[in-house]
């Protein structure tokens, strides 16, 4: 028994030192930004999936990482300029590919949350009714059909932007907007009786969209990016990511989100 314990301690020691030896390019302190968004991160409690993933990345890398909270739009600006190294739960598009690379660790679908009294049964209903306003978070992109809906409404001056999710729920309840696009992280708000009673959910018929660690191509060399990607991949393989998601979702839902085909 004691021998087994010693062996385990020794192994742990070796693993830690091996992580330190391989190094994750801790030549400098890194910066990582979180944004408030449902289960991803809640500033009031300083908790969330992104926070847990960030803590684990920092712990495993052994690097000093300064963590800040800022609006998503600001995060993308800073990632592009190279003033910020990392953020979490990002999705890609051709524009972002130019300045950011990603390490995927989960995927999810998008949904249109609409007021019941808006008489909307499909996305097309929403698009057709010129009186309906859609609320979106500035700089957010979604799945293909959702993006198409947002872009079309935007051209028609029917989109209200917000710096976060909470004001959108308030605007929805005040009937200033009649719909918003949500993800599974936004479900807890639906537990609120008044929101649940006043709204209904319409799924976008798109495949789940990959989300991942956002790395600034300006700030991080391709080698560094690869090392962080490998680190995240380890976290997926050893079940750490799944366990983090299971803290916030039912096991089946968590499994659906973290098991995606083709993720590197």
């Amino acid at each position: 028994m004691i021998r087994r314990y010693l062996f385990a301690s020794l192994l742990a020691c070796c693993l830690v030192s091996s992580a330190g030896a391989t190094g994750y390019g801790c030549a400098r302190a890194y910066s990582l930004a979180l944004h408030e968004h449902g289960l991803l991160y809640t500033m009031a409690t300083d908790t969330g999936i992104d926070k847990d993933v960030a803590d684990e990345l920092i712990r495993r890398s052994g690097c000093k990482v300064i963590v800040n909270v800022m609006p998503r739009a600001r995060i993308w600006q800073l990632i592009e300029s190279g003033a910020l190294d990392f953020s979490l739960s990002g999705i890609t598009n051709p524009e972002r590919e130019k300045f950011a690379s990603f390490a995927w660790y989960f995927s999810n679908k998008y949904y249109l949350l609409v007021r019941k009294d808006s008489g909307v049964g499909t996305h097309a209903d929403f698009e057709r009714n010129a009186r309906l306003q859609l609320g979106v978070i500035r700089s957010f992109r979604y799945s293909e059909s959702a993006n198409r809906l947002v872009d079309s409404l935007y051209q028609a001056n029917r989109v209200s932007q917000a710096g976060g999710l909470e004001p959108l729920y308030q605007a929805l309840m005040l009937n200033h907007i009649q719909g918003m696009i949500i993800e599974p992280f936004d479900y807890p708000a639906l537990d609120e009786k008044r929101i649940r009673e006043a709204s209904s959910i319409i799924a976008f018929n798109d495949p789940p969209v990959l989300h991942g660690l956002i790395m600034s191509k300006t700030a991080l060399s391709p080698e560094e990016q690869e090392r962080w990607r490998a680190l995240l991949s380890e976290m997926r393989k050893d079940g750490t990511i799944r366990r983090i998601f299971e803290k916030y979702f039912k096991p089946e839902m968590a499994m659906n989100m973290v098991n995606f085909p083709g993720g590197k």
């Binding site: 500033m43 009031a44 739009a73 600001r74 932007q161 917000a162 909470e166 004001p167 308030q170």
Partner: protein
């Protein structure tokens, strides 16, 4: 090319100007629409930029103030809250920086357990704060007195020791800051230093200060290791005035506290609101999150904005295109109809010449040539059908004395009126012609017998015998008529004419003003 073919072509080409007009107007409309859309897009893009830029400037300013408070946070985390001189120096330094001109007060809140209130008051008095006491009075589980405010200018001065926990707006922000470890701002509040009769909208930003070296990874840890707060108080007006960059002209910007834009929640408004009703411009709301608090930015564009950023050439394109379309259509009309109009003119002139060649210019009656032609036709027809027709020679009696007495003008007038009366008297199928000065002929096709011819000739005689009024003068004239019948009085044109002429001569000889039948 034959004339009918040419006319057919011209009917087709008559559509060409309309086609040109339709096409050019369509092109104008398309261009106008494209330009309008592009212009609207341009205005829309500028408007979006204005909104994004305003949001960004507010966020940057809030972040700058948060950084400033973080400096203080670091100072107190290491020196403790009671380092009054260091705090004063720090704020004094900031005051030199115009960047922080929007800040009214920077303050320090101590967190004092209920049991340590007396000791806390003693310490503060020991530090030189004369008569220091926590107020309002009363026993509480803990106290959150403001122990220092800087700068201590006259207008900002309030006795230290005010416990602000009882104020719900301030307490909620302080709790949020304490639990998250991040900056938190209040709802729209009236600042304690605001002594004006009407409240100026303000807000306060809090940052927590935790005991140095203590863990603060969880909410519980943060709550238990909190030692106080630092805060900065702002008037919204001054805060907005201190934003980086310049604000855009031609917009109305309203900022509301919370997601509901009500009059009570209005914190800031700039722009000429009276113009809003007169201009249907762009409008957008943005719900920005400022240090955990929602502010609604409501932006309206005014005419000035739309005119400045809209390219405004759509109207010019429409007007120019319309004029060009009309000009082109007109030009093509001239080109297409030029040949047609020339042909029509030639045809008209030909017809006129033909008429002139066959008619008597004075009376408009068929002349000898045309009459002869019709007589020939009737002759042929009568021969073919074994029909009858009559020919009357009419000669005015004593016309020459009228001409001599009253002049040729009156004579001509008389001839015209005689011709008119003859035309009115004969049947529609008959032809009246003038073959000499006062000599007329009448062709009467399809006659039954000589009596019918005589009756018609008699009607003519009576018609001419009625007085004429010429230039207000009444004149009477008679005529002698000789009637010849086909086939009895002749079977060709010459014989028939001769017979009629002789009959007319006989009438003259018999005393004039009568009808004489050739047989």
């Amino acid at each position: 090319m034959s004339i009918p073919h040419a006319f057919q072509m011209s009917r087709l080409s008559r559509l060409l100007p309309w086609i040109v007009l339709a096409v050019t107007l369509s092109v104008t409309w398309l261009l106008w629409k494209h330009e309008s859309r592009t212009s609207r897009k341009e205005v829309r893009a500028q408007f979006d930029f204005a909104l994004r830029d305003t949001v960004s400037r507010v966020e940057q300013r809030v972040a700058a103030h948060e950084q400033m408070l973080r400096g203080l946070q670091g100072l107190f985390a290491t020196t403790g809250l009671k380092n009054r001189a260091a705090f004063r120096d720090y704020v004094e330094t900031l005051q030199l920086d115009a960047n922080f001109s929007g800040v009214q007060i920077i303050g320090l809140v101590d967190r004092v357990p209920g049991t340590q209130k007396k000791a806390h008051e003693a310490v503060m008095r020991g530090l030189g704060v004369v008569n220091y006491a926590v107020y309002p009075e009363g026993d509480r589980e803990f106290y959150t007195p403001i122990i220092q405010r800087e700068p201590q200018l006259g207008r900002n001065w309030l006795p230290p020791g005010l416990d602000i926990w009882a104020n719900p707006d301030r307490r909620m922000a302080m709790e949020r800051a304490r639990d998250s470890g991040q900056a938190a701002i209040t709802a729209k509040v009236r600042l304690a230093i605001d002594k004006k009769p009407e409240a100026q909208p303000g807000f306060i930003m809090y940052l927590p200060v935790y005991a140095h070296g203590q863990s603060r990874d969880t909410v519980a840890q943060r709550r238990s290791h909190l030692i106080g707060w630092i805060y900065a108080a702002f008037y919204v007006e001054d805060f907005m005035a201190s934003l980086y960059g310049t604000s855009l002209p031609g917009v109305v910007l309203d900022i509301y506290d919370g997601a509901e834009p009500t009059a009570n929640a209005l914190m800031y408004s700039v722009g000429n609101r009276s113009e809003l009703a007169r201009h249907d411009g762009l409008h957008a709301n943005e719900y920005m999150v400022v240090a955990g608090r929602t502010w609604t930015l409501s932006l309206h564009s005014l005419r000035e904005f739309d005119e400045r950023y809209g390219r405004n050439v759509a109207g010019l394109i429409a007007a120019t295109g319309f004029i060009l379309s009309l000009s082109l259509a007109l030009l093509s009309w001239f080109m297409v109809t030029g040949r047609e109009r020339a042909l029509r003119l030639a045809a008209g002139m030909t017809e006129e010449l033909r008429h002139m060649a066959q008619h008597d210019p004075l009376t408009g009656l068929p002349n000898r040539a045309l009459f002869s032609d019709r007589l020939g036709n009737e002759l042929a027809r009568a021969k073919r059908n074994d029909g009858h027709f009559g020919l009357i020679f009419v000669d005015l009696d004593r016309f020459k004395p009228i001409n001599d007495s009253f002049g040729h003008a009156v004579g001509d007038l008389l001839l015209r009126q005689v011709a008119q009366r003859m035309k009115e008297t004969v049947r529609a199928s008959d032809t009246v012609g003038r073959i000499g000065g006062d000599e007329f002929v009448v062709l009467m096709p399809m006659l039954a017998d000589a009596e019918a011819a005589r009756l018609l000739a008699e009607k003519l005689r009576q018609a001419i015998a009625r007085p004429f009024v010429l230039d207000g003068r009444e004149l009477t004239i008679s005529c002698s008529l000789g009637v010849a019948l086909y086939p009895d009085d002749g079977q060709d044109e010459i014989t028939l004419a001769k017979s009629a002429d002789e009959a007319m001569y006989q009438a003259k000889q018999s005393g004039r003003n009568r009808v004489w039948l050739a047989s």
